[in-house]
């Protein structure tokens, strides 16, 4: 029981920090995935007086990923009844060319402004429809979501750091006595603080394993997968190698930092 209580408080504090980090990673992935969806659906339509080649279009701005030429057939179809075939062919030739441009990623409002400017530099292009208003609203909503999550994660991080600092004082008191006694018999600092570092590393391992178990379970949960599918997001909730490496490194670094702070703050009893 004594051994469990020795570990409990730091493990809980580390767990909450790791949990916050992983939630932040998931939200970030979800936002990126949503941005990708938006990028797929978002396009800019341009009107050109003459046919534009693939190279010309792609060279205008690096943001442009693909393009498709919009056929004027639907417009002509409506006029079809009253016009002869020759006239229709002439009309087709005189109509401007319409292109739909797809982007490499979901652009920022500034990127759209620059893109529009670059497109209009081409003399053949007479009109650019960038759907800026709709784009801005969606983009701002995304930013808002990300900022709220960042503030939330930051707050939890600060609260848990305060928790860890409080824990640090308890540890300092608890370990100082042992370190002092060992020092009285000539123990070098590395030996008298070895227990502290071992405890810190064990706690980091315990919390990393616990967080691994929690998120492995959640990532395999049918309910969670269904929910994400319903909102159109397809992401990896927990990457067993990459995410675990991040969380484990954070836990080890934090607990070792905590131990180092105790050793530095240790004052020999006179």
């Amino acid at each position: 029981m004594k051994s469990i209580s020795n570990h409990f408080s730091l493990v809980i504090a580390l767990l909450s920090i790791l949990f916050t980090i992983q939630i932040f990673i998931i939200i970030d992935r979800a936002v990126d995935s949503y941005k990708e969806n938006l990028a797929t659906n978002y396009s800019v339509v341009i009107v050109s007086q003459k046919q534009l080649s693939k190279d010309t279009i792609l060279a205008i701005n690096p943001l442009i990923n693909t393009y498709t030429e919009l056929k004027p057939d639907s417009v002509i179809k409506r006029l079809n009844a009253n016009m002869g075939a020759k006239n229709i062919e002439l009309l087709k030739l005189s109509l401007p060319k319409f292109y739909k441009l797809k982007m490499k990623h979901y652009p920022t409002p500034n990127e759209i402004k620059k893109l529009t400017k670059d497109l209009l530099k081409n003399r053949a292009i007479t009109k650019v429809e960038d759907f800026a208003t709709n784009h801005n609203i969606t983009y701002k909503l995304l930013l808002l979501l990300k900022n709220i999550i960042s503030i939330f994660a930051g707050t939890i991080f600060v609260v848990t750091t305060l928790l860890i600092l409080k824990e640090l004082r308890i540890w300092q008191f608890k370990h100082s006595e042992r370190m002092n006694i060992m020092g009285l018999f000539g123990s070098p600092i590395w030996l008298s603080s070895a227990v502290l570092f071992r405890l810190a590393i064990v706690d980091a391992i315990i919390s990393s394993v616990l967080i691994f178990m929690i998120f492995s379970y959640l990532s395999n949960s049918v309910l969670i997968q269904e929910y994400l599918n319903n909102i159109g997001i397809n992401i990896i909730i927990f990457d067993n190698i990459y995410d675990f490496a991040i969380l484990f490194t954070t836990a080890i670094s934090l607990s070792i930092l905590l131990a180092i702070m105790i050793v530095i703050g240790h004052k020999e009893e006179v």
Partner: protein, 223 residues
């Protein structure tokens, strides 16, 4: 005879204002048994602290075991402490360690092999009559038993010098006698220098000893 402690013009103080020990001179022979007495607050424990390097001399010089403690480096001081056994009035045992491991502490620090350490601890536990308590933790023991553990710890690494700060201050007759016997034994059989700070010198000591008395910041030998 070799001197294990030499103090020249030694002044000790916790602050810059007032010296607790003021310009004292004394020396202690290797293998000697010394009692230091004095009223409460006279500076007995302060002097003892300076002998294991917990308090640096304010003035003068203090040489213990050939190490000059004025301006000593931490590593040199640690090296000296490895050869000293200390007994405190409040025992200073590590609460989360068993009796056995507490006694083993100096042996761990001195890098003894585990098998050698266990044999040594086993022998000491018999000497302090605590063999049956080896696996217990200090808070589970009485004050007398804890002091016996502290005594065994101080003897475990065969130190050249034992410093004891009122080792029987809070103890019953039985534990007190056991502690005095152990200190006498270490001095007699192992030629360990023993310095004991105390209010009362036991009447039934079976060895020759020196007696220093501290008063008004100075130290003098009592014949």
């Amino acid at each position: 005879m070799d001197k294990v402690i030499i103090a020249n013009n030694l002044s000790l103080s916790y602050t810059d204002n007032e010296n607790i020990i003021n310009k004292v001179n004394f020396s202690i022979n290797s293998g000697g048994f010394v009692f230091i007495t004095g009223a409460s607050g006279s500076g007995k424990s302060t002097l003892l602290r300076s002998l294991y390097g917990a308090l640096k001399p304010q003035q003068g010089s203090l040489i213990v075991g050939g190490v000059e403690l004025n301006g000593v480096s931490t590593s040199k001081r640690n090296l000296l402490r490895k050869h000293i056994g200390i007994v405190f009035q409040d025992y200073k045992l590590i609460k989360e360690w068993t009796v056995e491991k507490n006694i083993m502490l100096p042996l761990i620090i001195n890098g003894y092999e585990k098998a050698v350490s266990l044999t040594q601890v086993d022998s000491l536990l018999k000497h302090v009559r605590l063999k049956h308590q080896a696996g217990k933790y200090p808070p589970e023991l009485s004050g007398g038993e804890q002091q016996r553990v502290a005594m065994a710890r101080a003897l475990s690494h065969n130190p050249i010098l034992i410093l004891a700060d009122e080792p029987t201050g809070n103890l019953d007759e039985y534990s007190s006698q056991l502690i005095w016997n152990l200190l006498e034994g270490a001095n007699n059989q192992l030629n360990t220098t023993v310095i004991v700070v105390t209010h009362h010198i036991p009447e039934n000591m079976n060895i020759d000893y020196k007696h220093f008395h501290i008063e008004f910041g100075t130290i003098h030998e009592v014949n």
